[in-house]
Amino acid sequence: GCTRKSDDTTAAGAPTRTPDQVKIALVPGGAHPYFQPWKDAAAKAKSELGVGDVTFNETSDWDQTKQNDVLKSLAAQGYNAFGVFGVSPENINATFEDLKRQGFPVASLASCPAGESDKADFCLSTDVQLAAYKAAQAAIEAMGGQGDLVHLTGNKVDSNTQRRIAGVQKAVDETGGKVKLLQTVTDVDKDLQTAQKAVADLLAAKGDQIQGIVNTAYNPAVAAAEGVERAKLPIKVVAIDDDKTILAGLRNGSVAATVLQNPAGQASVGSYALMKLAGGCTMAQPGVIIDSGSFVVTKDDIDTYDADRQAKTDELKKAFDSRYLSCK
């Protein structure tokens, strides 16, 4: 009879490549301001690491099928190491396995697969639950330790959203009832106008009860900062990331604090590690999850935060050399 060919491609192991043979592709889930630092980091990594190429391709448009296509197209183009923000954490492992089967090192960047296992070589991502926890804490502090808090976030059917909800809840629970989580509004990150409308309606309905709004998604953060300022309400808004708009809000006071992640670090350290893996190193612990750091920034440290973040990035790089990677 009929037999199935044995899976010898994975068994064969990855070929070792010199840095100039390594072509790295950084593929975000779609177009989003968060990923814009990846672009610069990619260019910088290319020159600093001396690798063949580092490209940035955001055409996957928040669609797993399209992302898979983009990845395969890049592979066909000769890219042989991948840093990927998986569109759907639930089945991104399948995509990672595909890439691994071809012998490519893979990094899960800025988000980790849902569930227990991680089929990428490593996951370098914000601990979103921790970041949300810090954000909520910042909000609670700005509120003076008591009052009603609202959480605005993204797509409800997304494991990261679930983790963020848990993080905020944890911070609120720790106040022992002094702070109440009045409402968690999900699905308001789809587009800016939906977020603006939701914020306006929320403020209209409960504006005078709310003392703080913590945002764990981009569009609602922009909308909340603006809506609160416009309504001239004394609500403390905690935003996410450091997009121009958010920083402007921080400066003019409409944003009390923002929780930064480390996209540039993810891209540069990720690229570095990928290059190493392509060169014959292996992960000491395959599928390890590494927090790329999150930082609460207020008006006071607005000019200095980047140094902290750079320090974290350097530290991450060292940790890869010393702990995560094992090279002969």
């Binding site: 509004v185 789809k190 209209a204 922009v222 402007a248």
Partner: protein, 332 residues
């Protein structure tokens, strides 16, 4: 803005009371009023507080205008799938003109309207020259416009443009947001256009019976181009309102508008087959959908339940229409 379902010159001005109550707009008006009162009571009057009313009406302006933008093409029996992304593009262009182009706000507004009109005309001309169904043409142009919309500023947000324009977005006259007044003025003009203007009547004739219209010397091609052009222009108006009222725009603007653009006219009693429009119905339907929005915020309902409810409301409204039609047929 009293124009109801505009098809024929109606039998007599005003018509009998029975005729008035038999119109779909009447049902919608009753529903809207009842819903509003019910929500006001359920929120202990919070709905009637200044801030809430203001927010309610401010975010009613775009749904009205975008509904009209779709209605204009439905009038000739076509659809425009690009209204949403086009609104986004126009909004981005306006912001770009002010921030990067350094143009004063009024010129940027004209620029946005111009882009809307031009894109609409291109849609119309493509339909005429390729003879491809408008649904398909605008499906393709929607993709193109999506690319352009993103091209203006990537994923980043524009804000901090003209204080005058943003001031206009928050200003009120007689307790009504200026942007809503603007939307209502636009609605009145559209009603006048379809009710009384020769060109508007010709559009409806094209929608009602293209062949008969042609035999009466009406150029259906011209109707198609005008309808799509007007639809684009109205998308431009929606964009201007967005830019003014929201204070910041990015390439996601317009993503929520496509379904809304259909919901308002369809619930408002506009026939997909063409030849029938209802400005009042469209406005009332937008009002109803907005009520649902506000209800969600007031009672902290999962937005996914809102989708379910809106779906049910649309189905309910059309079902009601059919039942009533059957009843009125049975009685005559």
């Amino acid at each position: 803005m009293s124009t109801g379902t505009t098809t024929a010159g109606r039998a007599g001005l005003g018509g009998s009371l029975k005729e008035v109550t038999a119109r779909p707009e009447f049902t919608l008006a009753v529903l809207a009023a009842a819903g509003f009162v019910a929500l006001a009571v359920a929120t202990d009057g919070n709905l009637l507080s200044r801030g809430t009313l203001e927010a309610f009406f401010r975010f009613l302006a775009v749904p009205i205008v975008i509904g009209l933008s779709q209605m204009v093409v439905l009038a000739i029996g076509q659809m425009n799938l690009s209204v949403g992304t086009l609104t986004g593009l126009c909004a981005m262009v306006a912001a770009w003109l002010m921030l990067e182009g350094g143009l004063p706000a009024p010129l940027a507004v004209l620029g946005a309207l111009g882009v809307g009109l031009a894109a609409g005309l291109v849609n119309g001309l493509l339909v005429v020259f390729t003879r491809i169904n408008g649904f398909i043409v605008t499906l393709a142009t929607m993709t193109i416009i999506e690319g352009l919309r993103y091209g203006v500023n990537g994923p980043d947000t524009f804000q901090g443009y003209s204080p005058w324009l943003r001031g206009l977005g928050t200003a009120s006259v007689l307790g009504l947001p200026v942007v809503l007044v603007l939307a209502l003025v636009v609605a009145a003009l559209v009603a006048l256009f379809f009710g009384r203007a020769v060109v508007g009547r010709q559009l409806l004739a094209t929608g009602g019976s293209p062949f008969a219209a042609r035999l009466s010397g009406i150029s259906n091609d011209r109707s198609i181009v005008i309808a799509h052009g007007l639809s684009g222009l109205l998308a431009g108006v929606a964009a201007v309102i967005t830019v003014a009222a929201s204070g910041s725009v990015n390439s996601s603007i317009g993503d929520d508008l496509l379904l809304q653009s259909f919901a308002a006219p369809i619930i408002g009693g506009v026939a997909l087959a063409g030849g029938v429009v209802s400005v009042a119905g469209t406005c009332l339907a937008a009002f109803l959908v907005r009520l649902v929005d506000v209800m969600q915020a007031q009672f902290d309902i999962n937005p996914r339940w809102i989708d379910l409810i809106v779906g049910a409301v649309v189905l309910g409204a059309v079902l009601l229409g059919t039942v009533r039609q059957k009843l009125s047929k049975g009685s005559s």
